[in-house]
């Protein structure tokens, strides 16, 4: 009997290890893909300018993936985000260029429009009960059309520098000459500070676990994890320091990631989203207003799509009606590559971010290699397919 019990706990431990490995597995896959492209491109993809581009090009997918994660957690998707990105970018450009409205006011108005669009979508989904797939498919057509109409089918630009700083600008720069190389100190310091914060947080978490009497994760595992994470952080900060310093979008991105990670893991609304996705009926009988949860998820998606629209037009210094084409697919793919359950109820912000970066590194690497857009789509499709299939395969194996 005790033997059997020991067996059970052994197996349990194994399972936990596998679970942990899966979390890191994605990060390892990301590093691996990056390394492969580094090799293929003669390390062009590790050049300071390219690392900078990697962040800037990926920012909108990351922003959208955060909102999309919430939709995916309920077992749904939002197909309209690419069109909303284009529409909001168009409105911003029109306000600034045609009507000379002050840029801060423009930003506020456009974000507000995003919220309204989200509420419009949320209204159909939660009040009228239209399936999110259909509602967002309709809005995908509607807002793409409206973006075309608003811009008359033309590109509108150029946008002033005060506008483009959001997507293409940098935080204040302090350059210092070290060994004939211009190094930006703020980026370097930020990397070091962040590393220290990460280590401190890990120590605190271990102390807390010890205090509560919980089993501690194996020390070598933790150290390995810290080395990888700090390695990645400093790789980025050093490369950025060698180029132009910290991009503005990086700040926006990090702030959003922190907020969404906190909301999903530590707050009541976050819990409610997982509950609605995990079992809607049980959630309703636990006092959760499930329709209201759905409404706010889609409202939030509208807000983030508007933000992505601003960032995208800022980076391009113009707005075009074709902007944001297929962004919804990139965001959805990021969530699912990142391990979000297709049926809803499970998935993490970290997963979605790593998923977004896997897509980003693929895009970037293949562009550097000069592969055509068609081939790129094939590769991205295959990666999505393999990632989700592998996830399902391991789940099946675990339960058998």
């Amino acid at each position: 009997m005790s033997n059997a019990a020991a067996n059970v706990s052994n197996e349990k431990q194994m399972k936990e290890h596998i679970q942990q490995l899966k979390q890191y597995g994605m990060i390892i896959a990301l590093v691996l893909i990056y390394a492969i492209f580094a090799f293929l491109t003669d390390f062009k993809n590790a050049a300071p300018m390219n690392v900078n581009n990697l962040i800037m090009q990926n920012s909108y997918v990351v922003i959208l993936a955060l909102g999309m994660l919430l939709c995916c957690l309920t077992g749904n998707v939002d197909l309209s985000v690419g069109s909303v990105v284009a529409f909001c970018g168009a409105i911003a450009a029109i306000m600034v260029i045609d009507y000379h409205i002050a840029i801060p006011i423009t930003f506020i108005v456009v974000l507000f429009i995003g919220v309204i669009i989200g509420m419009w979508q949320g209204f159909f989904i939660s009040v009228l009960g239209v399936s999110p797939f259909i509602a967002s498919l309709a809005n995908m057509l509607i807002f793409r059309g409206l973006a075309m109409v608003a811009l008359n089918g033309q590109t509108k630009g150029p946008l002033p520098a005060d506008f483009t700083i959001v997507g293409a600008g940098y935080l204040p720069q302090i350059f210092v000459n070290i060994g004939g190389m211009k190094i930006e100190m703020l980026a370097l310091t930020a990397g070091v500070l962040l590393s220290i914060v990460i280590i401190m947080m890990e120590i605190r978490s271990r102390q807390n676990k010890k205090k509560q009497g919980f089993a501690l994760p194996a020390l070598p595992m933790t150290i390995f994890k810290l080395v990888v994470i700090i390695g990645i952080v400093n790789f980025f900060s050093i490369k950025l320091a060698m180029y132009m310093g910290l991009p503005m979008v990086l700040l926006i991105m990090l702030a959003l990631i922190l907020i969404y990670a906190f909301v999903t893991t530590r707050t009541v609304p976050g819990r409610q989203i997982y509950a609605v996705g995990g079992n809607r009926k049980a959630a309703a009988l636990s006092g959760i207003k499930t329709d209201r949860v759905m409404f706010w998820i889609y409202t939030n998606m509208g807000l983030l799509a508007a933000l992505a629209g601003i960032v995208l037009s800022a980076r391009n210094a113009s707005a075009t009606p074709k902007a944001g084409d297929m962004f919804e697919m990139d965001a959805i793919a990021a969530c699912y590559i990142g391990g979000t359950a297709v049926a809803g109820g499970s998935g993490t912000v970290t997963g979605a971010i790593v998923g977004a970066f896997i897509m980003g590194v693929l895009n970037n690497g293949m562009s550097l290699l000069g592969w055509s857009v068609d081939v790129q789509r094939v590769v991205k499709g295959m990666v999505l397919l393999v990632a989700v299939a592998a996830d399902l395969y391991f789940k099946k194996k675990k339960s058998a």
């Binding site: 059970v8 197996e11 707050t267 819990r271 995990g278 009988l285 006092g287 499970s346």
Partner: protein, 519 residues
């Protein structure tokens, strides 16, 4: 009767190191009904899955000897080829296909390869329906339009259509009411006369002792004993229970020392209409009251409206056009939604834990705190995770949930332990009034006893407890008093010496007769 049709020898099956079956032996004689008893997780279903090839040959050790020949089934098709058919607890019917289509699914009557002969299909379906006593059903109606009882019979029809010789039924009556169960059991006895051998997995001892010729008891993956019925004599149910739980349960319903106090919860003139059809009354002029420390039963047949009543009271989670008054501690309150019900310290533990009670993919602590996040586990919407773990851990040990930790996923727990998680979830909301809807459905004898103990401790702590149960002995065993509900109305009330199954049935019959004469 003495010829052996099946012998399973030294069957051992493990799941990555954990032995689900350990040297299990089973001998089934031709033409008998053989019952397989055991608690949840004892290994009954695993054994049957080995037999039917769900777990292929090679994934277990031991021999299956069927009709004198050693068999090595690699999948269900192979065992079905030998005319062994398994009917799982969860029905495998397709609601939007007709009876005839369902009966022959995977076993179609075809001509020229893959073209279905519909005339033959319908004719044969009618023949099969006659055997199972459903000759009046139209073979072209959708299976989804039948009740659960008839659906279960259609499953048997499917097996008969495959010329079954050995029929395996996994908890065939778990979703059926008494009447439907009766029909099914009669059918099994009928099939026995026609020479079909059955193996029936069941929790319900009264059913087992009624139809089974031999009973094999399994506990923790071991065969404990095979009890034979000699010359139609009664089978000793206590012996089965003892074998299943490994100890003797002297009193099925533990004693309670609760002090019954003032009326805590009172409902007057409660009316509820169908959510789809606001003109159709489901609950009519229901009034009742519950006192502090009292356990009140809601008796009735399935479909009497008890769950609908409970859910409509619990923040209008069911129904439309609701009217009536609810009083708590003498003051009238209104409960427009579930959160208000929770705030008013009312809890409802739903009857179907997997569909309405739990988020299966999440862990124990997560599920336990879900209903009281706002009130007890958060500060300005930020969750206090330490408190969550401590309280969950506290309840886990207090009501004895068997799990490695509160971080274990709920889907991996047994039915009884899942039910305890749902109970803990609502105990954590610190209610004054608890409505428990079928709190012991589908769980084994040992876990039932523990649930009764929890109910007692709740009453002893001064809570008002309402229990809905379709198992009359259970309802009578644990309640101080009971209301009999029939067709959405309170048909009568029983208490004290007046509490018995006959009284309940008499009240229901009288009430139905009176209603019939009114119409």
């Amino acid at each position: 009767m003495s010829e052996t049709i099946l012998e399973m020898r030294h069957i051992t099956k493990d799941f990555s190191g954990v032995k689900a079956l350990d040297d299990v032996n089973l001998i089934v004689k031709k033409g008998e009904i053989h019952a397989l008893c055991g608690e949840n997780g004892a290994g009954k279903s695993t054994l049957m899955n080995v037999l039917s090839g769900v777990y292929p040959y090679g994934s277990y050790s031991g021999d299956i000897v069927y009709k004198g020949e050693t068999c090595q089934f690699h999948d269900i098709k192979e065992s079905e080829h030998k005319k062994i058919v398994i009917i799982h607890q969860e029905l495998a019917l397709i609601p939007r296909l007709t009876i005839a289509e369902n009966i022959f699914i995977g076993n179609e009557n075809t001509v020229m390869g893959n073209v279905i002969d519909w005339d033959l299909t319908q004719r044969k379906a009618m023949e099969v329906l006659k055997i199972i006593g459903l000759e009046h059903e139209n073979v072209n109606q959708f299976v989804g339009d039948l009740g659960v009882g008839k659906q279960q019979l259609i499953e048997i029809a499917k097996a008969i259509a495959k010329d079954v010789e050995l029929l395996i039924l996994d908890e065939p009556t778990s979703a059926l009411n008494d009447e439907e169960s009766n029909i099914l059991l009669e059918l099994l006895l009928d099939l026995k006369k026609q020479g079909i051998t059955s193996i029936m997995i069941s929790h319900k001892l009264n059913e087992v002792s009624r139809v089974a010729d031999n009973i094999t008891v399994i506990r923790d993956g071991h065969t404990i004993e095979t009890i034979e019925r000699n010359n139609n004599e009664e089978i000793d149910e206590n012996r089965i229970i003892k074998g299943m739980v490994g100890r003797e349960i002297t009193n099925l319903y533990p004693q309670r020392n609760a002090k019954v106090g003032d009326v805590v919860f009172e409902v007057k003139d409660w009316n509820v209409c169908d959510p789809e059809d606001a003109g159709k009354k489901i609950i009519k002029n229901v009034s009742f009251k519950v006192r502090k420390g009292e356990v009140v039963g809601f008796a009735g047949l399935m479909g009497a409206g008890r769950t609908e009543l409970a859910m409509s009271l619990f923040g209008r989670a069911y129904g439309s056009n609701i009217s009536g008054h609810i009083y708590k501690n003498g003051k009238e309150i209104s409960i427009p939604d579930v959160q208000t019900a929770i705030d008013q310290k009312i809890a409802y533990v739903p009857e179907d834990r997997k569909t309405y009670g739990l988020v299966l993919i999440n862990d124990i602590k997560w599920n336990m705190t879900l209903a009281s996040l706002n009130d007890r586990f958060s500060d300005r919407q930020v969750i206090n995770q330490d408190k969550e773990i401590h309280q969950a851990e506290d309840y886990r040990s207090r009501i004895n949930i068997k799990a490695s930790s509160v971080n274990q996923k709920v889907e991996s727990l047994s039915g009884g332990n899942q039910q305890k998680v749902v109970l803990a979830k609502w105990m954590l909301s610190e209610p004054d009034v608890l409505i428990l809807d079928e709190p012991t459905r589908g769980i084994d004898v040992g876990a039932k006893y523990e649930i009764y103990t929890i109910i007692n401790s709740l009453a002893e702590a001064g809570k008002a407890v309402i229990v809905i149960s379709s198992e009359m002995p259970e309802l009578l065993g644990i309640s101080d008093r009971a209301y009999v509900i029939n067709e959405g109305e309170i048909a009568g009330e029983i208490s004290g010496d007046n509490m018995g199954q006959e009284q309940i049935m008499k009240i229901i019959m009288d009430h139905s007769a009176k209603r019939g004469s009114l119409q």
